[in-house]
Symmetry: C2
Subunit: 255 residues, 2 copies
């Protein structure tokens, strides 16, 4: 039975998509069968694994709003064992379209429920918001992985995010746990970064991954080739960081 991990943080640009793509891809390379669900109308996760033009194909919106079987929308990617349920621009309207539905918070959970047995891990990449789509992703998940950029605005937003997670856990998904906080886009030259890392490690009751994802130009370049960094430059520091993360993730989950 596959595990569902949502990657969320309402702060923009903290590395949600980059974490989703590269952790999923690294696990796939380590022979796990992995599904990446793109729940962001920007469709960066889709483009980042090779599906650039998503407006022509069925996507998550059609599963949520028109109840199509997700298997009809799931596609393979260039990375073996990595599958994608793409998103597209229609998803922008899903918030309002689902707003008046019965059990509107559980729609994605029921889409994901019948896929669990076919994958080892299912990752859901979220848009930078705490709206209905992100709530759906938290309700659908076993755990939530929180990328944290070591900067002030990102750090300030953590309390609100933890508050939302607690509300979802209390009201809709009692089993929801925090998979961990992941220090991302770390630049050791920034005085600021070290202060925030220390604060995150000291102030958090949740697991903080040992692996730190460093700022690395190869990671930012890989999306131009529409591939994860492991396929773009396997010897880069970025690729190594994400392999280390995948192995730490497996150690933590296989015990």
């Amino acid at each position: 039975m596959g595990k569902v991990i949502t990657i969320a943080n309402q702060k923009g640009g903290v590395g949600k998509t980059t974490t989703a793509i590269n952790l999923a891809a690294s696990l796939a390379i380590l022979e796990k069968k992995v599904l990446l669900i793109d729940a962001d109308p920007q469709a960066n996760a889709s483009s980042g694994v090779g599906q650039a033009d998503t407006n022509e194909v069925a996507g998550l919106y059609d599963c949520l709003v028109h109840d199509i079987d997700p298997r009809e929308a799931i596609i393979t990617t260039e990375t073996p064992n990595l599958y994608l349920l793409p998103s597209n621009i229609n998803l922008v309207g899903a918030d309002l379209e689902l707003a008046n539905r019965e059990k509107r918070e559980y729609v994605l959970r029921s889409v994901v429920a019948n896929l669990r047995d076919e994958y080892d891990y299912i990752f859901i990449d979220c848009l930078p918001s705490l709206g209905l789509i992100t709530v759906n992703a938290l309700v659908a998940a076993d755990t939530v992985l929180i990328p944290v950029q070591c900067e002030m605005f990102s750090f300030e937003g953590l309390a609100k995010l933890k508050n939302t997670i607690a509300l979802v856990k209390q009201g809709y998904n009692p089993g929801l746990q925090v998979e961990g906080l992941l220090i991302s886009m770390y630049d050791s030259r920034l005085r600021l970064a070290n202060a925030i890392v220390a604060e995150v490690r000291n102030s958090s009751n949740d697991y903080v991954f040992e692996t730190i994802i460093h700022r690395n130009s190869r990671v930012a370049e890989a999306p131009m080739s529409h591939v994860p960094v492991a396929l773009y430059d396997v010897n880069s520091k970025g690729a190594t960081n994400f392999f280390n993360l995948a192995e730490e993730f497996l150690r933590k989950n296989q015990n």
Copy 2:
């Protein structure tokens, strides 16, 4: 009669708030009377100019949903001539609360209309979304300033943003123009960055600011002291970049 400039881009973390705070502050230091409106429930712009705990005070949400006079919510900041209309977490609900209102796209425009004569410039910082609050900000504005991070995901999102701007111009605000595209968080060491800058300059019919905002650690550190970079470290490259931007903005607008 003051000019209203909305700072928007649905891609997260591209420097919207940093541009709003520092361009507004630099113009205030150059003796313009400037209002900064925070239209993001994250309230980063509020915190960045000194109003960290915004949940206790009236904010933009109260003006939009409860029709309070914005002058009751506007506060001074440590930067002379810079005023703030703060946001707070209630703004998260404004999308749904305004959704069924008559002329729901014009609510912010009417709030701003009676403030125009009191300021030289009014800047509106948006959340990373193309939802109803951002549409309200585009309808309220004379122009829209678009920060562009020189990376793939940000560049890919430009077409959708320009499309939304065109729809707002056609349907609600025929006077809406693009103030310009601003290259932000530029790091000359990234091969990627130079390729994207060239592409933005060649492919855009809109004005592209000559001034480029470089990635600079002082810019990221300033929010820890809740002040704009010009007050945090006036000799930094970041402060210089934003003064240059303010002067270019004035040259462009005073002809």
